[in-house]
């Protein structure tokens, strides 16, 4: 294996088309398609009394109008509850079009199909929906009082209640351990709502082929295979008659893993019914009010610890706001409650969460998926313990670290994949050492003193996390070498900017010993690969990367077998270099992989010079065996799957230095440092890019982004004017260092990297602002006016 590309910063193969405007995103497809638009509820909670479409019927260019009453069969049922869980006793999902009651602003009620989007929206504006107002339930603490209900049949608005408890090694419960601890603290933390906000919203485009009785659906999704199954089931079509393709996707960050969105089944349904191509492209306001949000939680913490700051007992109670529906189950609060433990050995742990309905947009995973909240909780706890004891914050963390020799480390909990939370590998003390060096932790007090002498306030903060990545159940890869020597790789999961076409090609080129230029990669196209789960949970590289490597190894083995026959050599003596199979040390005894591909497929009919070699009178095959031997298949191709026993666990530590303006309370990040360990790096340039993007989203969540709902359940800042995402001027330069602790769980030794950057940022910024201001920070995000208010409160 001489063509080593694994681990190299190979430039992206996606870019040539994307920088020239040749990408194909959802709305770039289907130029002649009809357009759909939706009448969405302007009210957070109301009963629909009447829908009058008569005024819309005269709109020139109108094609069709549909309400819930038009929906047949399974389409009229609530959308699937994707991830059931025994603790989710009151899971509720929406109807594709509202039936009787709307439960958040933005819920779709009527679908309009017209010649173009302008006309469809004209028609929407003329549809009159009569509402009977119901009391909106806003805010998780109001909701949990249960005075008014989001769903009539969900008492107390509690969708799920779950407790996990891990006793200490000497058998004490968390309550006992805290009661017996030398020191205890108790406090509350708040985290606001944010959202994924990919620059491209959702979108669906469907074509019905009446001649073939088949359906092709394009969706800006993170899971084309699952959308396909849902569409087939909802429309009552045979699965082989439905294909779903994720084209170029303009970012996902979690929101596009949820499926089927109402539009993902309504558009295909209407396309078939009307026998016309139909497209729906979400606009920005729709994305704000009718997709998904995340993060909002209220946490109550009790902690008991010793003089060294070792946590002897930790008890966390979480109120989790799941919005109006729970299509994605309780994955987010499960992740918060399990990943909260981070890189630490906690004496005894009890975590309890209630997942609460409110009349707001549903909550489903956003990059980090519950981890930022868990890390905020644990890292705020570490800082408070350190402050109480007067110890250095990093010392307290180090006192609680799992040691490098303690892996695999069983945290005693059940993780989001239903499997034990057992960390595979890591080196937390080394990570912390690297971080302290990178940011200059030990010399910071002098820097702070110098700044103070100039009348400036600066502070340093730190945050550590462990991230379960690469969750199962599986992914697959298919690799085919064709007679022209090209290598075609496909995997079912999808891409939203992670550079899969590049990294998977690097893996295939390395495994097969071919130039990367010969390798092409297709993702998210069910025509090419039908079995997959999707892209989420930092899993694509781990799952599909390993599956593709395994598939390549099958292909390689077969290629060497066939080449050995042709060269009359022992397959164990063969190598593949630059697409040529040769005897090690004897380059002249060789055969191109292209020829091996020809020979792998015994032919009756040649189609070019090269393929004549494989025809029946060429003498290529032995007369003693059938042309395709027992146990063999024609073709030089391989398919394999990777299904892990459990998740891998990446980790990292971040530190920041911030400055707070004594007058304006503006918070500026002066430096931001990241030490990151995601196991073996396939492409360091791409991993670095993932970290950058994650940190930027983290900065947004820490300082700027929140969804502001009023008491009526109106989202007040549903635009980019008012929901403040960071521009280049808000993101500091990000300094990074990598530690590579390979995962023992998979052949490539990799862990995931997609979410890492975002996870500890709120915790880090809170830590740094607290250090600068000497004011306890207990909620995120923190704006200048929030900080100003805190200063005033402290001054009183």
């Amino acid at each position: 294996m001489t063509t080593k590309l694994f681990g190299e910063p190979v430039r992206r193969r996606e870019d040539a088309r994307l920088v020239t405007g040749q990408g194909r995103y959802l709305d770039d497809l289907g130029p002649g398609a009809l357009a759909a638009a939706f009448v969405r509820s302007p009210h957070a909670h109301a009963r629909i009394r009447d829908i009058d479409v008569s005024a819309a019927l005269d709109v020139d260019g109108l094609v069709a109008i549909y309400t819930w009453e038009d929906l047949p069969g399974a389409l009229a049922e609530p959308l699937p509850l994707l991830i059931p869980h025994p603790a989710l006793t009151h899971g509720r999902t929406a109807y594709p079009l509202a039936k009787d009651v709307v439960r958040h602003v933005g819920e779709p009620i009527v679908m309009v199909v017209a010649e173009d989007r302008y006309i469809a929206e004209d028609a929407c504006a003329l549809i009159d929906v009569e509402y009977e107002f119901l009391k909106p339930v806003v805010g998780v603490e109001e909701a949990v009082q249960g005075v008014h209900l989001v769903h009539e049949d969900v008492p107390g608005n509690v969708g799920a209640h779950m407790v996990q408890e891990v006793p200490s090694r000497d058998g004490r419960s968390a309550a006992e351990a805290i009661a017996a601890a030398p020191h205890t603290l108790e406090f509350r933390l708040d985290i606001e709502r944010s959202a994924c906000m990919p620059l491209e919203g959702k979108g669906v485009y469907a074509r019905w082929d009446a001649d073939d009785q088949s359906l092709r659906v394009y969706s800006s999704t993170q899971t084309s295979t699952s959308v396909r199954m849902a569409v087939a089931a909802k429309l009552g079509l045979p699965l082989p008659k439905v294909e779903v393709i994720a084209p170029d996707v303009g970012g996902g960050f979690g929101v596009k893993i949820v499926h089927p969105w109402p539009e993902e089944i309504l558009i295909p349904w209407a396309a078939r019914l009307l026998d016309r191509e139909i497209k729906w492209t979400e606009d920005r306001r729709e994305h704000f009010v009718s997709s998904a949000h995340e993060r909002a939680q209220v946490q109550h913490v009790r902690v008991g610890f010793d003089d060294e700051g070792r946590v002897l007992g930790l008890d966390v109670t979480i109120l989790h706001d799941n919005g109006a529906y729970t299509p994605y189950g309780i994955i987010v609060p499960i992740i918060t409650s399990t990943q909260l433990l981070g890189p630490y050995k906690i004496g005894a742990y009890r975590v309890e969460f209630s997942s609460i309905y409110t009349n707001t947009v549903q909550v489903t995973p956003y990059r980090g998926a519950g981890r930022p909240q868990g890390v905020f909780c644990m890292e705020r706890t570490m800082d408070r313990v350190a402050a109480y004891l007067g110890r250095d914050r990093t010392e307290v963390r180090a006192a609680n670290f799992i040691g490098p020799d303690e892996f695999p480390y069983d945290q005693g909990l059940i993780f989001q994949d239903g499997r034990p939370l057992i960390y595979d590998s890591g080196n937390y003390p080394e990570s912390l050492r690297m971080l302290k060096e990178l940011i200059g932790w030990d010399s910071f007090p002098e820097m702070k003193a110098r700044a103070a002498a100039d009348g400036r306030r600066i502070g340093i903060g730190v945050g550590c996390y462990v991230e379960g990545t690469g969750v199962g159940p599986y992914e697959g890869g298919h690799v085919q070498v064709t007679s022209d020597g090209r290598v075609h790789v496909s995997t079912g999961l999808t891409s939203q900017g992670q550079g899969h076409e590049t990294v998977f090609a690097q893996i295939a080129a390395t495994e097969l010993g071919v130039p990367i230029e010969k390798v092409s990669v297709v993702t998210g196209d069910t025509r090419r690969f039908g079995y997959a789960v999707g892209t989420f949970a930092s899993r694509a590289a781990v799952m599909s990367g390993n599956a593709i490597a395994l598939a390549c190894r099958k292909v390689r083995e077969k290629a060497l077998r066939i080449a050995a026959d042709a060269l009359e050599a022992d397959p164990r003596d063969l190598e593949i270099t630059d697409g040529i199979v040769h005897v090690a040390g004897t380059p002249s005894a060789s055969i191109p992989l292209a020829t091996v591909a020809v020979l792998s497929n015994p032919l009756r009919y040649a189609f070019d010079e090269e393929t004549k070699r494989a025809t029946q009178f060429s003498g290529a095959s032995s007369m003693d065996r059938p042309p395709v031997d027992e146990g063999e298949e024609p073709g030089l191709e391989g398919r394999d799957y990777y299904s892990p026993i459990r998740s891998t666990f990446a980790s990292g530590m971040h530190a920041a230095i911030v400055e707070t303006d004594p007058e304006t309370a503006e918070i500026t990040i002066l430096r931001y440092a990241v030490v990151h360990d995601c196991g073996k790096l396939i492409n360091p340039m791409i991993v670095e890019g993932q970290i950058h993007g994650g940190v930027a989203q983290g900065v947004g969540g820490a300082l700027y982004e929140k969804m502001v709902y009023d008491e009526y359940g109106q989202l007040l800042n549903a635009s980019f004017m008012d929901f403040l995402m960071p521009y280049a001027t808000e993101v500091p330069r990000i300094e990074t260092a990598h530690l590579e602790t390979p995962s023992p769980l998979n052949p490539l030794g990799i862990k995931g990297a997609g979410e890492a950057g975002v996870i500890p940022v709120s915790a880090v910024i809170a830590s740094a602002v607290e250090d600068a201001e000497a004011i306890p920070i207990d909620r995120m995000p923190i704006s200048p006016s929030d900080l100003h208010t805190l200063r005033l409160r402290l001054a009183r």
């Binding site: 430039r11 992206r12 996606e14 870019d15 040539a16 994307l18 920088v19 020239t20 405007g21 040749q22 990408g23 194909r24 995103y25 709305d27 770039d28 130029p31 020139d60 173009d116 302008y118 006309i119 004209d122 994924c196 906000m197 990919p198 620059l199 491209e200 170029d248 996707v249 303009g250 970012g251 960050f253 606009d283 920005r284 939203q496 900017g497 992670q498 550079g499 340039m685 791409i686 670095e688 890019g689 970290i691 950058h692 993007g693 994650g694 940190v695 930027a696 989203q697 635009s719 980019f720 004017m721 995402m725 960071p726 521009y727 280049a728 001027t729 993101v731 330069r733 990000i734 950057g757």
Partner: protein
């Protein structure tokens, strides 16, 4: 008064090619480029002028095509991302974004490319501050901007190494009269 259905014939010079379209008065330039002229490289991220993904060059100056009615630019010259390359060769800005990993999902990229192209024409040797300022009107949700900023600097370098020649679609804007419409020269 115009209604939703009355159509107006307009002529645009898009990427150096004369293009004609019949559009209602309310048709956005972004929709006209994408759906009437089939130039889907210009993307729409917010439709309220904040994200900058839809940025194109109007007579050489960056504008938000989602905030521009197509009928208002009748007779003007427009450069989209499809028009940045020259003779099949990527422009310095396009090359630099690829070299520096300045894009991930690529959705916001056309807006950054157009913005940076116009910026580097005005200021071929920018400082760090100036680059940051130049790209601070465009949103990217993937890259954290680190490599976008690097890419703009790199594009300046590449541009400086190239023999000077007129840049695609870039009409030299006179100071204070960006809509003069006169063909300038960038040499």
């Amino acid at each position: 008064m115009s209604d939703a259905t009355t159509r107006y014939a307009i002529t645009l010079v898009v990427n150096g090619v004369v293009r004609e379209a019949e559009v209602p008065a309310r048709r956005l330039l972004s929709d006209c480029l994408r759906h009437d002229l089939g130039l889907t490289g210009t993307h729409v991220g917010c439709e309220h002028g904040v994200c900058g993904a839809c940025t194109v060059l109007l007579d050489g100056e960056p504008v938000r095509s989602c905030l521009t009615f197509a009928v208002t630019v009748d007779g003007h010259e427009i450069t989209t991302v499809e028009g940045l390359a020259r003779d099949g060769e990527p422009s310095p800005v396009q090359r630099a974004f690829t070299e520096c990993h300045g894009l991930q999902c690529g959705f916001c990229t056309p807006g950054f490319l157009c913005t940076a192209t116009a910026f580097l024409r005005e200021n071929p040797t920018p400082t760090d501050e100036e680059v940051l300022e130049a790209v601070s009107g465009n949103l990217c949700r993937c890259t954290g901007y680190q490599n976008i900023v690097k890419a703009v600097h790199r594009a300046a370098e590449i541009q400086a190494e190239l023999p000077t020649e007129p840049q695609p679609g870039l009409l030299q804007a006179e100071n204070g009269s960006g809509d003069s419409g006169e063909r300038g020269n960038t040499a």
